[in-house]
Structures are given as structure tokens and as C-alpha cells.
């Protein structure tokens, strides 16, 4: 499987372990990543807030670049960021719906001899795993099942709402895929109140207390539900839930210590990559529970009859 791969900005900036772990996991799964290194930021909803046409044109350019790769044999376009998915899906919804608008946007792109044809398949790694790669195939690749690891899913708003724009329906219940993947990897899914809520990141500079309250509440809910860690397909959620966790923790009475994993990291663990290879050492909240689990499994496998 070959994908036109859009890593996003944050995965190469403040969460380098995300892009890094994806690069480790892809060959293990047999996914070839053709990086769209000519493409620009999706705007993360903020450029659309400034000018819808600007955001749509920038994203149409990325789609056009991806379509060139698809023309050369890539199966589809893939991203690793809920926010990129949401911002791109929003642009795509408008571009695909209206030919007059699409022509207008393509007119701007024509200076670069680029053009977007409606109907690109652009999927987050999460969707690709379930819909294109297949959970059965994923299970076959698991060498170190996440047995006993309690994982709370955290989706990020942009990848679950609005449902119709994101293609979430009975046939493709994309708002439950994290649970399916955690189970396929052998882990235990923790059901908690915050899984589909907002991490608070978009208002961190405008309403810091409210923003961190959201993060703290979600983390606290997962902790109360006895999760060992949270997994998210969104690096922006990761910033608020992990990077800001020490500051968020000050706003709530309960001490918080909740490791937050990127989706490729969780997959990587089950595929046998070491915590260091997937960059778990780069997190602000040390994923001690996860690393300990990882070590105990190795000890268990080594010992006669399983030592744990």
C-alpha cells in the first residue's frame, strides 16, 4: 500500500515523536509513505476563520499535489492529524459541492499548473487502518499484544464532528474506530466521559483557564476510569493534554499523571518497537505505566510459563 502522506506542521514541530513514530510504523505495516513535502499548512480552522477562500485554495493545492502522486500509483492521501483532517474535509466539502467555486479556486492554482479534481480520498491514519488496511491484517502484524494495557481513546473534535462532513455513518462508524484499533492491538478499551470532547487547545491563547479546564477534566475522567494512558490521532490535542498537563493539573484538586500516546506510537508498541524508537521519551508526562507494561511483557515472554 502506497499513500500520498501529509504529516502536518505540528508533527514535525512540537510533537516530532508523532512524525517519527509514523515513519517507524509504516514500513512495519508495509505502507509506503510518499511525503507531500511541497504542501503547506491546512490552516487548522484559523486561516478559514480569517478567509475561507484562502484556506480552501491552500488545501486545494495540497489535494492537487496529492492527486499527482495518486496518478503515479499512490492509493489515496493520508494524514496523521485530526485537525488537518477536519480542516481539509471542510475545504473539500465546499470544493466538491460547487463547480463554480472549484473553477474559481483552480483558476488561482493554474499559475502553478495545478488543478484539483473533485472527490479525493483523504484519510487519517486511523480511518486508513480500519477501512483500507484492515483490522485483521493489523492483528496479524501484532507481535506484542497490548494485553492488560488499559487505553482511553481521545479523538479530537475535528475528526468526529460534523458527522456528515466526515463521512461518519452506520457503514463507517469512524467515531468508534479508536476502540476497534485498541482491541485489535490486544489492549483494553477504557470508556470515559471525555473521549469525544474538546481538549481545549484552540482557545489556549484566548481563554487559558477554560482551555486547561477542558484538558484537566478529560484527563481526570480517564484517570478516574482507571486508564493507563490515552491515545489520540491529533497532535494538537496532544499539546494540550501532554505538554500542558503540568499546568492544567494545577486547576483541579486531583493530581494528574496521565500519559498521552499518539496513535502511531500505540500501534508501534504492539508491532514490537521499543518505547524509545517511537519517541515515548519525548513526552512531558512520562509514560511510565506504558513503559513498565512494555518491560513486563518482555520479562513475561522471556520467563518460563510467563512470569507476570
Amino acid at each position: 500500500m502506497k499513500v500520498a502522506y501529509w504529516p502536518g506542521c505540528v508533527s514535525r514541530g512540537f510533537t516530532p515523536e508523532l512524525h517519527g513514530s509514523m515513519a517507524q510504523v509504516a514500513p512495519k505495516l508495509g505502507i509506503e509513505l510518499v511525503e507531500l513535502d511541497r504542501a503547506c499548512c491546512t490552516g487548522a480552522g484559523v486561516i478559514a476563520e480569517h478567509s475561507q477562500e484562502l484556506a480552501d485554495t491552500l488545501n486545494a493545492r495540497t489535494f492537487a499535489l496529492a492527486q499527482q502522486e495518486i496518478g503515479k500509483g499512490a492509493d489515496l492521501m493520508m494524514n496523521i492529524c485530526s485537525t488537518c483532517q477536519g480542516a481539509q474535509s471542510e475545504s473539500q466539502e465546499r470544493l466538491d459541492a460547487n463547480k463554480v467555486y472549484r473553477d474559481h479556486v483552480n483558476e488561482t492554482l493554474s499559475k502553478e499548473s495545478l488543478s484539483y479534481t473533485e472527490g479525493i480520498a483523504n484519510k487519517n491514519f486511523l480511518w486508513l487502518l480500519v477501512e483500507d488496511y484492515g483490522l485483521d491484517r493489523l492483528k496479524e502484524k501484532v507481535v506484542k499484544p497490548l494485553t492488560g494495557l488499559k487505553v482511553g481513546p481521545f479523538y479530537g473534535c475535528y475528526i468526529v464532528r460534523p458527522a456528515d462532513r466526515l463521512g461518519i455513518d452506520e457503514e463507517n462508524p469512524r467515531d468508534s474506530y479508536l476502540s476497534l484499533v485498541i482491541e485489535a492491538l490486544g489492549g483494553t478499551v477504557i470508556d470515559y466521559a471525555g473521549s469525544h470532547k474538546c481538549c481545549g487547545f484552540p482557545i489556549i491563547t484566548m481563554a487559558k483557564d477554560a482551555s486547561l479546564q477542558m484538558a484537566a477534566r478529560n484527563l481526570g475522567d480517564a484517570q478516574a476510569a482507571d486508564a493507563d494512558c490515552i491515545v489520540t490521532p491529533c497532535p494538537l490535542c496532544h499539546l494540550n493534554l501532554d505538554l500542558q498537563q503540568p499546568i492544567a493539573a494545577k486547576l483541579v484538586p486531583t493530581p494528574l499523571n496521565m500519559p498521552v500516546l499518539h496513535l502511531p506510537q500505540l500501534v508501534g508498541l504492539a508491532l514490537g518497537l521499543s518505547p524509545k524508537e517511537i519517541g515515548l521519551n519525548k513526552h512531558v508526562v512520562k509514560p511510565t505505566a506504558v513503559v513498565d507494561w512494555s518491560a513486563s511483557v518482555i520479562a513475561g515472554v522471556g520467563g518460563e510459563g510467563g512470569g507476570w
Binding site: 506542521c9 512540537f14 513535502d37 478567509s51 493545492r61 465546499r94 459541492a97 460547487n98 470532547k197 482557545i203
Partner: protein, 373 residues
């Protein structure tokens, strides 16, 4: 919708609570019998008529126009009269249809929440009437048709409170003006007859509970049974406040947006290390030296130090941002400049124009917000 299917049994699990009783809330179950296309509201009314007259539920028109019967069905907000029993059953987790009162508002009894205490108070906060221009025209106001089409989306609101129920910003900060009231605000900010658009926008941008408190979670877009998409209206308020009225609010809202746009124009990719200080200090390289940016830096030190220690962020990455290669960066900047040079903001509102698939021929897209940039 097939209306010929015979009646069948549905189990309703209803959240019951009477604050005056001093008892804790509890779940009550009733099996009702109705055709699958009938509504959850009809189910509730049957349960009330047949089994327990004390079930508290508010309703009136039963046709999704009065906005009285807002509830949560299987955890999602909406109108009880607008939710078919078969659809509700399909979305239930365990074969029972769960009906609860809406969130973010105090419960008066069972499914009835106190709309006055929250929703109507916030609606009143945004001066929900037209402030006419003076002198009053001798005859009627003559208004460009398209600009009125643009506000029809907000006029579709029936004040049911479904968006307020699930607003995630309001959940942690009850002071937030919220989706319904801000959509109502756009109703007048977007109306060319209103005389105080600048004042309205300044008020809502400067309010620490105003337009910049929306966390962009799409909950209200999903909740609204009428397609009002309150969050989209909030984004339009921001666009008008910042781009048209140049309101540099004290909540960092406009500075954050401006800094984001500038940084992506400069590098093609976002340079996060610059975004935070510029949001506080102002949209230029010097922004980080402003006192507000310094104070924020100090407050963020626990996070920054750990990020540096764990080599999540390296000093090199913080100082020298990732950038696109030159030809691509120039192409991207060209797009920025082309769009900026337009005389009018080209905004496509699918609520207004619909999808080509549903139209006989492609519709000119430039209806919607056409205010001059």
C-alpha cells in the same frame, strides 16, 4: 419514510428528577407501543398518559417548529418530536432509548430545564433586536437580497437550546455567551440595516466570555436540528470583527488569528514557537518582547522546561522554523496575495447554495458573506 409499518414495542429509559423532592435523580423505564416512524415525543406522551402522569416534559407544536421539546436522546441533543423511534432505537447502545434533560442548564423537573436561567439570559445579552439607522427612511429600508439570504441561516433558529446543551466551552465556563446567543448576534451584525455593527462586534470581541471563547468543537453544529451551524456564525463574527472592523481585542483573539496567518505565509508551515508569543504580544517578530508575551512565557515555563529537557522541542527548532522550499513557498505566498487582493470576500455558504448534486446546474457560489474586505 415508510409509515405503513405496524406498531411495535419500544423501551424508553427516562431520567427522572424533582429537585424539590430532595431525592436523587433516577432512571425510569416504560414500554410504549407505536409505529416506528412516530416520534420519541409521542412515545413520552404515551408513557405519561398510560403509566405515569407525573413525567415532566415540555412540548407544544410537535412539528419541530416551536423549539419546546429539546432533550438528549441516547446522549445526543435534539428535539424529541423530530427524532423517529426507529432511528433512536438504532442509535441506542442496549436496545433501550435513553431520554435525558438537556445539559448546561438546571433541571426544573425530569426533562424540563430552566431555559430562563441560561439560554434566554444569554440571548438578551446580545441585544437581540435591530438597532435602526437614523434618520429613519421615509419609506422601507431597501436591502440587497443576497445580504438578507446570508442571515436566513441564523433566522432559522427556533430557540430550542440544543446547541447550548452540549457546548463544551460552556461546560467548563458557564459565563460563555454561547452558541445560540452568538448566532443571534450575527443575525444583526450581518443585517445591513443595523446601525451598531461596530459597537456590537467590539462588545463581543472584548468580552472575555465572547466570540473568542468558542473552542471550535463543532458540538453546536452537530446539535442544531435546524442547520443554523452556530459555530460558523461565530467564525463570521470573528472575521468581521478582525478583518472588517480591525478590532484588536484584549483576549488575543484577533492577534492569534493574524499571527497564524502571517506565520503560515512566511514559512508555508506553522512555526508554533512564534505563534504563542505573537498571540499575546502582537503580530510581528518583536511581539515576543511585549510585556504580555513575557508574562505568558513565565507562566508557561513548567511546560517549556520539560519540553526542552525531554528534547521534544530543541532550541534550534524553536528558533529556526521548518519552511517550504523556495519555489513552493513562493507559490503559497502567491495564493495569499491573490486572495488578499480581491475586492470582495468570496465566501461559499452551502446552507444557501446547496450541493451541485441537488441542483440542476452549478450555482454561482459567491452568495453568502459578501462584505468588502
Amino acid at each position: 419514510m415508510d409509515t405503513r409499518k405496524p406498531p411495535q414495542d419500544y423501551t424508553l429509559r427516562i431520567r427522572r428528577y424533582d429537585p424539590e423532592s430532595g431525592e436523587a435523580p433516577y432512571w425510569d423505564e416504560h414500554v410504549i407501543k407505536l409505529e416506528p416512524h412516530r416520534s420519541v415525543l409521542e412515545g413520552l406522551l404515551q408513557a405519561k398518559a398510560k403509566f405515569d402522569g407525573s413525567i415532566g416534559v415540555r412540548c407544544s407544536c410537535r412539528a419541530a417548529i416551536c423549539g419546546s421539546c429539546g432533550v438528549r436522546v441516547n446522549g445526543k441533543p435534539g428535539l424529541a418530536c423530530h427524532t423517529h423511534l426507529d432511528d433512536a432505537l438504532k442509535r441506542s447502545k442496549d436496545g433501550k432509548i435513553t431520554v435525558e434533560p438537556m445539559g448546561n442548564m438546571p433541571v426544573i423537573k425530569d426533562l424540563i430545564v430552566d431555559m430562563d436561567a441560561v439560554h434566554w439570559k444569554k440571548i438578551n445579552r446580545v441585544t437581540p433586536w435591530l438597532i435602526g439607522k437614523t434618520p429613519v427612511p421615509e419609506r422601507e429600508y431597501v436591502v440587497d437580497r443576497l445580504s438578507m439570504v446570508d442571515v436566513t441561516q441564523t433566522m432559522a433558529c427556533i430557540q430550542c437550546g440544543a446547541c447550548v446543551s452540549d457546548c463544551l466551552s460552556m461546560e467548563v465556563d458557564p459565563g460563555f455567551i454561547g452558541p445560540a446567543a452568538l448566532a443571534k448576534a450575527y443575525r444583526f451584525v450581518g443585517d445591513p440595516r443595523d446601525a451598531q455593527q461596530q459597537e456590537r462586534l467590539k462588545d463581543l470581541a472584548e468580552d472575555p466570555n465572547g466570540i473568542y471563547n468558542c473552542t471550535h468543537c463543532f458540538k453546536c453544529v452537530e446539535a442544531c436540528p435546524k442547520g443554523v451551524a452556530p459555530m460558523n456564525q461565530i467564525m463570521r463574527l470573528r472575521r468581521r470583527a478582525g478583518a472588517d472592523h480591525h478590532i484588536n481585542d484584549r483576549n488575543n483573539g484577533h492577534r492569534h488569528e493574524a499571527a497564524f496567518v502571517t506565520l503560515v505565509r512566511d514559512g508555508g508551515l506553522l512555526h508554533e514557537a512564534e505563534l504563542l508569543p505573537r498571540s499575546y504580544g502582537g503580530d510581528s517578530w518583536f511581539g515576543k518582547f511585549a510585556p504580555k508575551a513575557g508574562a505568558e512565557l513565565v507562566a508557561s515555563l513548567p511546560a517549556i522546561t520539560k519540553a526542552l529537557l525531554r528534547r521534544k522541542v530543541t532550541p534550534k527548532a524553536a528558533l529556526f522554523p521548518h519552511k517550504l522550499a523556495k519555489p513552493d513557498l513562493e507559490a503559497v505566498q502567491n495564493i495569499f496575495d491573490t486572495v488578499k487582493a480581491r475586492e470582495e470576500r468570496y465566501e461559499l455558504n452551502l446552507y444557501v447554495v446547496g450541493d451541485d448534486k441537488d441542483n440542476d446546474q452549478p450555482i454561482e457560489g459567491a452568495v453568502g458573506d459578501r462584505s468588502t474586505t
